[in-house]
């Protein structure tokens, strides 16, 4: 297991290097710069700004400056938010997204896996149909629609939950629910398919013929094996969900990092774009590594050899 983790860390270095290089190149290709605003500035002021941020240097030199800072853990400065470093910005925003994301992920698992299992166990029944209907609706409706509906119903009409903001635990409920619905629906469909497949296996039939109760069979024999494909998607899903959702954070006014995936690009805030991309890549590598480790826990046959 240790070898597996070490291997992943070694592989992550060239992956991150390539991600950083491609992102850097793409940013410089896109027309418009960070200081292009409606009001044109005199050339002398533009020269001052470019000198301050090293944008007056050739692009290869800018790349070297950026990468040499990056290896020291310095992700640069924001061109939009004066006097703030990217490390500061993400240091403030990431914990918020992480907090919300973990709750959303927990909700997605708590809703999705049982829903899929119920549907599979009751295959062909009304309950199956209803569960899959809910799952299909959950996948089909985008977050900004479900978010708006939840705000309208629970926030404005019933006044059961805060409309938005980030003041207390109860302010997390609606955004976490919004964030979780689509992954929950996806997990439900995946779990259903996986459970159905496992239920056809000989060892499940054997367990039943030996007189094991239905619930024990499902929990002990079916779910344990059925969750392997679910785990596969949980890796990237975790990275996506804990780095924040632009829609959910925007809609509920949550100070997370999800919004930077969009606003940093529209502001051409180069260092911030790089940082969000790299943080996402790092989390993806970490989440996938954890998933690989969990594979071996669920199924010892999946031990990776050196």
């Amino acid at each position: 297991m240790l070898l597996l983790i070490l291997k992943r860390i070694v592989w992550a270095i060239p992956v991150l290097f390539i991600v950083a290089t491609i992102s850097f190149g793409l940013m410089r290709i896109v027309p418009g710069g960070p200081f292009d605003e409606e009001k044109s500035l005199p050339p002398e002021i533009i020269a001052n700004i470019k000198a301050k941020y090293h944008l007056d240097k050739p692009i290869p030199e800018q790349y070297i400056i950026y990468m040499s800072r990056l290896v020291k853990g310095d992700m640069g400065v924001s061109y939009k938010y004066v006097n703030r470093t990217v490390n500061d910005i993400l240091g403030d925003a990431f914990p918020v997204s992480l907090q919300l994301g973990l709750l959303g992920l927990a909700l997605a698992i708590v809703i999705g896996v049982p829903l899929g299992t119920i549907a599979a166990v009751n295959r062909g029944s009304k309950l199956d149909f209803l569960s899959m209907l809910v799952a299909t609706v959950g996948i089909s409706i985008p977050g900004f629609v479900t978010g708006a509906l939840l705000i309208l119903v629970f926030g404005l009409w019933l006044k059961l939950a805060p409309v938005a903001l980030w003041e207390s635990f109860r302010h997390m409920l609606l955004p976490a629910l919004t964030l979780s619905l689509s992954p929950a629906a996806y997990l439900a469909r995946l779990t259903r398919a996986s459970v159905l497949e496992v239920m056809e296996k000989d060892y499940v039939r054997t367990a039943r013929s030996k007189g094991l109760s239905s619930s024990k069979t499902i929990v002990k024999h079916v779910l344990r094996n059925a969750l392997v494909p679910v785990l596969t998607v949980l890796g990237p899903l975790t990275a996506i969900i804990i780095t924040g959702s632009f829609v959910v954070e925007y809609m509920y006014a949550i100070p997370g990092m999800g919004r930077f995936f969009i606003t940093a690009v529209s502001n051409r805030d180069y260092d911030l774009i790089m940082a969000t991309t790299l943080v996402f890549a790092v989390l993806l590598v970490i989440a996938n590594t954890i998933v690989d480790v969990l594979y071996t826990v669920l199924d010892p046959r999946m031990q990776v050899k050196g």
Partner: protein, 576 residues
Amino acid sequence: MKFLLPLLAVALVLVLVGAGWNQKSIKPEPGCLRINLGTEPPSLDWSVTVDNYSFDVIANLMVGLTQYRNNLTCKPSVASSWDVLDDGKRYVFHLRKDVLWSDGKPVTAHDFVYAWRRMLTPATAAQNSFLFYDVINAYEFNSGKLKDFQQVGIKALDDYTLEVKLRRPVAYFINITALSPAFPLRQDIVEGFADSWSEPEHIVTNGPFLLTKWQHEYKIELTANQRFFEGEPKLKKIKYFMVPEPSTALALYENGELDFIDNRSFPTPDVERYRTSPMYHNYPLLRNNYVGFNVTKKPFDNKLVRQAFSSAIDRDVFPKILRRKEFPSSCWIPPSLMGYDANSGPNFDAARAQKLLADAGFPDGKGLPPITLLYPQREDVRLVVEAMQDQLKRNLHVNVELINQEWKVFLATCRNDAPQMYRSSWGADFPDPETFMSNFTSRNGNNHTRWKNKTYDDLVERAGGEPNQAKRAALYKEADTLLCKEESPLICTYLASQNILVRPWVRGLEFNAMDLQFFKTVWIEDSSPLSFRGFSRGICRGSSKFESIKLNAVKSRQIPRIARNDKGCRISQRSY
């Protein structure tokens, strides 16, 4: 297992009920004004920031030599008086001795000299430093050609006397002294705390409120400054939330969690819904919208074609499609600024437009090359250019192709090679026609039309230095007529407006066309016997007798007074 789903649903509802049961009826937070800023201010460093989100906060944290009244004339502030000497080329400001920084130290002339030196230092890269280029040697110092700041025309004659020397008489200079880049700075604070000097734990300010909390991307809190030289404000606290989504901000307002929202938080369909509400207020902003012609490209190298296009547009259509009480205008100087004359621009006259086009050699639009109009991606802008496309088709039989681009790409295109037509707008930097008129001078970087006219340049230059107000107004009027009616490198369309909703317990609020939000005169009437629950819905829908009674009760109370004087404009308004 089969009970799991209903159990989960019940549990979820119980959690939500438990979490939200203590939701209160709509009422004020005592002594606190809660408003939506919309987004994170890029900086509270008043020397370098250029956006209106930052200014909204800074306007309540700091005061400069002068201060705008709500009618946007300048009044003394840190400077109790000033002398204008040497035919308008030298200003001597006499500073009050009772203005204190928030840590108790006095504000002195040296703080202004330091602030201006820092702002003009090339390494600071302050974008608004060009506003000070009329100060002797400011341009040379800012562009790195001069290293010795002693030669720049600002000097502390003593602790409380500040001298500013200009290279030419500048009639609007006093307006510049009320802008945030001219505010004083404390050298020990800025240099002692480097990049973090403007964070709440370090910042010192001299205005009516103190910065006490800044949760980035979420909330800023200000509290009343007991040392403010005009007296402690009545408001104890201001909470600026940063809710980017307008419909969410409106929902917070309707839920009683915000007391005040403006255009940033007010979707157009909801403006319609609140139009008749006493909480709704509207006033024009000094942001003029236009479509420019690139006069170096055919057919707009011919001024008759430009005049024809400008005369073919009925500006009255814009408020009907945008529905925010925009002010149609065919001239460049906004109403209430000196030099404004509605007749400076062309009137809508389709017959005249067709004749002009025929005179240009394109009868019924025949022979015209393909014409494109570029606009930035935004819903309201799309509505405007589509309306213009339609009018040009109907009135001139001309086909115009619309092309949209993402904002920054659009800006780069206009700057590098503007197409035949492009849509843009301009919000004033300070309340004077100069800020509008200088845009179309030959050497101005904002003049994407590439139109150059020596007469126009001379008129604007002369007006800028003319001390006699009547003569200044006449010069600007002449220049505006030349620009909009005779040469027409642009089609002026309409002035934007501000739409706001204010809860009735917010008192003393005044507005100005520059949209500077000064809250030092505001207070919260929080000892109200009236339940405001449902207030907003009641007055908007008026659907029940009960709601009507409440509405009348509220109407009988003092509704916030609105200053309708719309002279002035907003500093560096956000790009639209």
